[in-house]
């Protein structure tokens, strides 16, 4: 993975120093809250329901064991012994004190991490496929370009006060695990007939209160032109994005109001004026970065591993775990291990410092000391030998990290909701806990098969409910929490926005409603047809009828 050089180190240290100065000026009364707020937000410091919250960037979801260990130490030193992994591959601390923040950031800088631009109306942490570099279906590893974008967007002088926040997602594989169609800018790698690599540039996707699927701005942009082209997109947005209404300020509204053709024309006109004088520098930098992502040295292993196959036959729980949590690796004899942070009845995405230490150790022992964070709030060990899977599973089990539900109904995504968040209108976590307990039976989960549930505690949609196969949105009706259910959302290469089924439910009715939906699906599905395909085949009607028949 990428390592900082002297410049990256100096950059992050200077930024910590700058923020230390800003915190001192705030604590000393020199800065008012109105003045300090945009400054603290630019460094990921929020004020939440109970306390400050710090969001730490995990660039493109990649962590080393040393970094994970430091995150755990920070949880113990400055917080309350746990951390929350988010739907944007980041990590959040819920209780840090403002006066400790500069020291905390210095501790992060020690391990080449920061909180730059994890909030504010700027270019946020770039996200990508959690299996980047190891996925069997990959065209190219997207991480070098993600790192290039991280550097290019860091403290960008022109694009740090945009109309609204700005999220870029990148995929190097045809199977989209990065949800590029619901980001402000999505980048999808293609190889043309001549074997040259290029980017399909999407723009104007997003969730929130106006969910939209992105349009394609360029079908095939030569790789070397990426940053110049992005500069043109950003400039058009910075100048013309709406600033009169916070809820209409994302680029998706600009794209929608101008229309796809007019937006494209504006971007191309701006790009034509730019020239790209720095292409050579960028290409050299991309090559330099790429060297850090050279594949590790893999052992030459057989495609099948006999002891592993035997263990699967002998141990049903292990076999289940392999079926749901282990994915195909591009190298023979290796596997990708997905660690569920969704134990039955647990808090989605939360990990104790102890669990974080365990994952750091296991990654070191079994996976080239590398860990990934997924946008479904889980963790990944990307490089595990088939022959190590059983031992690894035993060790994960003893740390309560071996729940065999990745991609299944128990693998629920939920934002922190009203239990933590100052913007939330309803709680998300208790709903996730209810539903996960209702479907506790692993055999049943595996029988139901691939199904995503996403829960957001307000219209801002941090739980990505619009793109869950089943989406749940928590709202407030005269002081009572109630929940709206959507069906048919998806964030993959066939991205779609879910449809609202009908009137909402009280919190204690949600698990029943989900069960009704699942039972309806099981009655309708053909053979092994996954939920989303059955839904697309039959539409919302049978689900509505089943849910509201007695109403």
């Amino acid at each position: 993975m990428y390592r900082y050089d002297e410049f990256d180190h100096r950059f992050v240290r200077e930024r910590v120093g700058q923020f230390r100065d800003q915190v001192e000026r705030r604590l000393g009364g020199e800065l008012s809250e109105a003045e300090f707020k945009p400054l603290r937000l630019m460094n990921g410091v929020y004020l939440q329901l109970h306390a400050y919250m710090l969001r730490v960037a995990i660039p493109y979801g990649t962590l080393s064991s040393a970094q994970m260990r430091r995150l755990a130490e920070i949880a113990d030193t400055y917080d309350k012994g746990y951390a929350h992994f988010t739907t944007r591959q980041n990590v959040q601390y819920n209780w840090p004190k403002l006066k400790d923040m500069p020291d905390l950031l210095d501790d992060l800088a020690d391990v080449e991490m920061h909180a730059i631009q994890t909030s504010g109306n700027c270019i946020r942490n770039v996200t990508t496929d959690q299996w980047a570099g190891v996925a069997a279906d990959e065209v190219a590893d997207p991480r070098p370009v993600c790192e290039l974008l991280r550097q290019w967007s860091s403290l960008h002088p022109e694009f740090s006060f945009l109309p609204r926040k700005f999220k870029i997602a990148v995929t190097g594989a045809p199977r989209d695990r990065a949800a590029v169609a619901v980001h402000d800018i999505g980048l999808r790698m293609h190889v043309n007939a001549d074997g040259a690599r290029g980017w399909e540039v999407l723009a104007g996707g997003g969730q929130g209160r106006t969910p939209m699927i992105a349009i394609t701005v360029r079908e095939f942009l030569p790789e070397a032109e990426l940053l110049g082209y992005l500069e043109a997109v950003m400039r058009v947005y910075n100048l013309h994005g709406r600033r009169d209404n916070k809820y209409k300020a994302r680029i998706k509204i600009l794209v929608h109001e101008l229309g796809a053709d007019a937006f494209r024309a504006q971007v191309e006109a701006e790009y034509a004026k730019l020239g790209s004088p720095t292409v050579d520098v960028e290409q050299r930098e991309l090559e330099r970065i790429s060297a850090y992502f050279a594949p590790p040295v893999y052992d030459e292993l057989d495609e099948t591993c006999v002891p592993f196959e035997l263990a699967k036959n002998e141990n049903r729980e292990f076999a289940w775990w392999v079926k749901s949590n282990v994915s195909a690796h591009k190298v023979s004899g290796y596997a990708i291990v997905n660690i569920s942070l969704k134990p039955t009845g647990g808090i989605p995405g939360d990990a104790t410092s102890q669990q974080m230490f365990v994952v750091a150790d296991l990654a070191e022992q079994y996976s080239h000391a590398e860990i990934r964070v997924t946008h479904r709030q889980n963790l990944v060990l990307p490089d595990v030998r088939l022959s190590d899977l059983y031992t690894l599973w035993i060790e994960l089990n003893s740390a309560e990290l071996a729940t065999a539900n990745v991609g299944l109904i128990g693998d629920i995504v939920a934002c922190p909701g009203l239990d933590y968040c100052a913007l939330a209108t309803a709680r998300s976590i208790p709903i996730a806990q209810d539903v996960s307990e209702r479907f506790e039976d692993l055999k049943r989960q595996h029988d139901i098969g691939s199904l995503t549930i996403n829960i957001s505690g307000c219209i801002n949609a941090c739980g990505h409910h619009h793109v869950g196969h089943i989406g749940i949105l928590g709202l407030d009706k005269k002081g009572e929490e109630f929940y709206q259910i959507t069906l048919g959302g998806s964030s993959d290469e066939n991205a779609s926005i879910g449809t609202i089924l009908g009137p909402g439910f009280a919190g204690d009715q949600v698990a029943d409603a989900i069960e009704t939906i699942v039972e309806t699906y099981l009655g309708l599905r053909a053979d092994d047809e996954p939920f989303i395909e059955t839904y697309r085949r039959v539409g919302a009607k049978p689900f509505k009828e089943a849910l509201y028949e007695t109403a």
Partner: protein, 183 residues
């Protein structure tokens, strides 16, 4: 209000004229882009310096034809978080190749000064709340930038990281603030 330029405070001697206001002989004047377009024929004969204020919802391309005789362009930051003028400045310095004075007005705070300078501003309308030391610290807090095209060509300049890595930045890493800033 006073002006901050090259690390020093100056009295603002420019006169900002309303669209109907008579043009005083010999004064340095700032007019709106509308007035500039409407009265360019007479304004270009004015015997003081001529500047134009461009609102931040207006395309800077509108004044492209007049840039050769314009001494100063003033761009507005109505609030800390309204960043349109950064892109306006960038377009003026970039594709429009404007080399005159570029002044930031409105809500100009120390914490934005470095970004403004990197986008091409060289003059800042500031209130008396912050001393010169605060402004200087704000400019020099970051000695590096990842955006190679955004390095000020005068005064203190952060080093361009990507060029520096390639060994091309021996003389861009200028950290002696006093010498550079006041030069």
């Amino acid at each position: 209000m006073r002006l901050l330029k090259n690390g020093e405070f100056f009295e603002d001697t420019w006169l900002t004229l309303d669209n109907e206001e008579a043009v005083p002989q010999g004064a340095d004047i700032l007019v709106s882009a509308e007035r500039l377009q409407a009265e360019f024929g007479t304004l270009m004969l004015h015997n003081g310096r001529l500047g134009v204020v461009v609102a931040n919802d207006r395309a800077v391309d509108d004044i492209a034809d007049y840039l050769e005789v314009i001494d100063t362009v003033v761009l507005e930051f109505p609030s800390f978080t309204d960043g349109r003028a950064y892109s306006q400045a960038r377009k003026l310095r970039g594709s429009l190749k404007f080399r005159g004075g570029l002044r930031a007005t409105g809500n100009v705070l120390p914490d934005q000064l470095a970004f403004m300078r990197q986008c091409g501003f060289d003059t800042f309308e500031v209130n008396g709340r912050f001393g010169l030391d605060v402004w200087q610290r704000a400019v020099t807090a970051m000695t590096l930038t990842y955006q190679g095209g955004y390095v000020p060509d005068r005064g203190f300049a952060p080093a361009d990281v990507w060029s520096a890595r390639a060994g091309n930045a021996d003389d861009t890493l200028r950290s002696d603030f006093e010498e550079i800033w006041t030069a």
